[in-house]
């Protein structure tokens, strides 16, 4: 839907406009208000839904809301049990939060690309980028938090010396210490970066394609955006799932003492 308003800037302008966040502040202290708002709102939606289910939770016959919540809980719990063999009160709720939150972020991608920015512009907002996972800050915030947990649990379970030993003496033994250290550091740092970039890349690309489809003549748009949206339903679920499973796997690796 390349409207007249964007015609002056052309297709590039339209795309850039769509991918520019509603920001506030300067330099590092810039806040992406849209990312913050939408992710908080979606987080609130997640909390509200599950809290409703949790409050009415009964071991008798469950209602619809509870059934759905329990289905999610069982699904996540199964994933955790499959790859994590320790005792942790944090990992399962963490995995549930990650899966639901990322899924909801990604789900924003399925709203028509112009609808929410249009409403925003009516409310006087110049820019509005509605999909939080197309913001590197959002994906990195999550993956860095996970990374911090990985480091925390590595040190907690293996002890500072045990963790240091693992970094220095594996996989090639003590004679290749600097090489081991380099390898291990890259391996560790790759975890949050790959987590964040995978999610960001997939969703950014998906959103970009929606925007490109929106630039086409109106009669071509449904033909392309409909299959892409269906395909995207798979992608957004898959990306949320991957983020969750990798988090569980990384944390279980942190728990395993060699």
């Amino acid at each position: 839907m390349a409207t007249e308003a964007h015609a002056a800037e052309g297709a590039t302008g339209y795309i850039i406009h769509h991918l520019t966040p509603l920001h506030f502040g300067e330099g590092f202290w810039t806040l992406h208000l849209d990312t913050l708002f939408f992710s908080a709102a979606l987080g609130g939606l997640f909390i509200w839904f599950f809290k409703t289910a949790a409050e009415k939770a009964t071991s008798g016959v469950p209602g619809l809301v509870q059934s759905f919540a329990e289905m999610m809980i069982e699904f996540v719990d199964q994933q955790v049990k499959d790859s994590f063999h320790g005792h942790s009160k944090l990992i399962a709720p963490l995995a549930l939060t990650i899966f639901c939150w990322v899924f909801l972020w990604n789900f924003m991608d399925l709203f028509p690309v112009d609808i929410l920015p249009l409403i925003g512009s009516l409310m006087g907002l110049e820019y509005l980028r509605v999909v939080p996972s197309t913001d590197l800050n959002a994906t990195f915030a999550m993956s860095i938090s996970v990374f911090a947990l990985i480091i925390f649990y590595s040190i907690k379970i293996k002890g500072p010396w045990g963790f240091a030993k693992e970094l220095m003496f594996q996989p090639f033994g003590p004679w290749l210490l600097p090489f081991n250290l380099l390898l291990k550091l890259v391996e560790e740092i790759a975890k949050p970066i790959s987590l964040a970039l995978r999610l960001f890349g997939n969703l950014y690309a998906g959103e970009l394609i929606f925007i490109l489809i929106a630039l086409l003549p109106w009669y071509l748009q449904p033909v392309l955006s409909f299959p892409w949206a269906i395909f995207h339903i798979l992608i957004i679920t898959l990306q949320a799932f991957i983020f969750m499973v990798l988090t569980i796997v990384y944390l279980s690796m942190a728990h395993e003492d060699h």
Binding site: S39, F46, F50, E55, P62, L94, L136
Partner: protein, 157 residues
């Protein structure tokens, strides 16, 4: 497309969400799931136990019925035996009674024969006397001729 303070805000939101989920969402839902699992397991166990009990009760009932049947057939046998005995007994009794009655009748008959003979004899004796009287034309003194009369009547008997 730059990393900025949004990151910090997002991390805070994420931490809050995880904390809330860990504290208020996961435990009640998970507990209710576990509780239901336990309830179902208990129910299944109870059902199994009930079935087992039913089988036991069935077996017991069969035994009781078998015993009752045996007992009843024994009772019937005994009753039949007793009935046979009774029949035999009454048969015996009847036979004896009959024999006794026959004997009594025979005795009576004998007695009656005897009586008849006696009266016949007396009558004959009287007849003989009267005939003799008439023949002799004189009265026979009964006292005088007792011996003769007795002799005659004995001969008649």
């Amino acid at each position: 497309m730059s990393i900025n303070a949004t990151l910090i805000g997002q991390m805070i939101t994420f931490a809050l969400l995880v904390w809330f989920t860990m504290k208020y969402i996961w435990p009640p839902l998970f507990d209710s799931l576990e509780e239901r699992r336990k309830k179902i397991a208990d129910g299944l166990a109870a059902a199994e136990k009930g079935q087992e009990n039913m089988h036991l009760a069935e077996k017991k009932a069969k035994n009781v019925i078998k015993e009752a049947k045996e007992q009843s057939s024994e009772i019937v046998n005994q009753a039949q035996k007793r009935a046979n005995e009774l029949i035999e007994e009454s048969k015996d009794l009847g036979k004896k009674e009959g024999e006794r009655m026959i004997l009594a009748a025979k005795a009576q008959i004998e007695q009656e024969i005897h009586q008849a003979r006696e009266s016949l004899r007396q009558e004959v004796a009287a007849l003989a006397f009267s005939a003799a009287e008439q023949i002799l034309g004189a009265e026979i003194d009964k006292a005088k001729h007792r011996d003769i009369i007795n002799k005659v009547s004995n001969q008649l008997g």
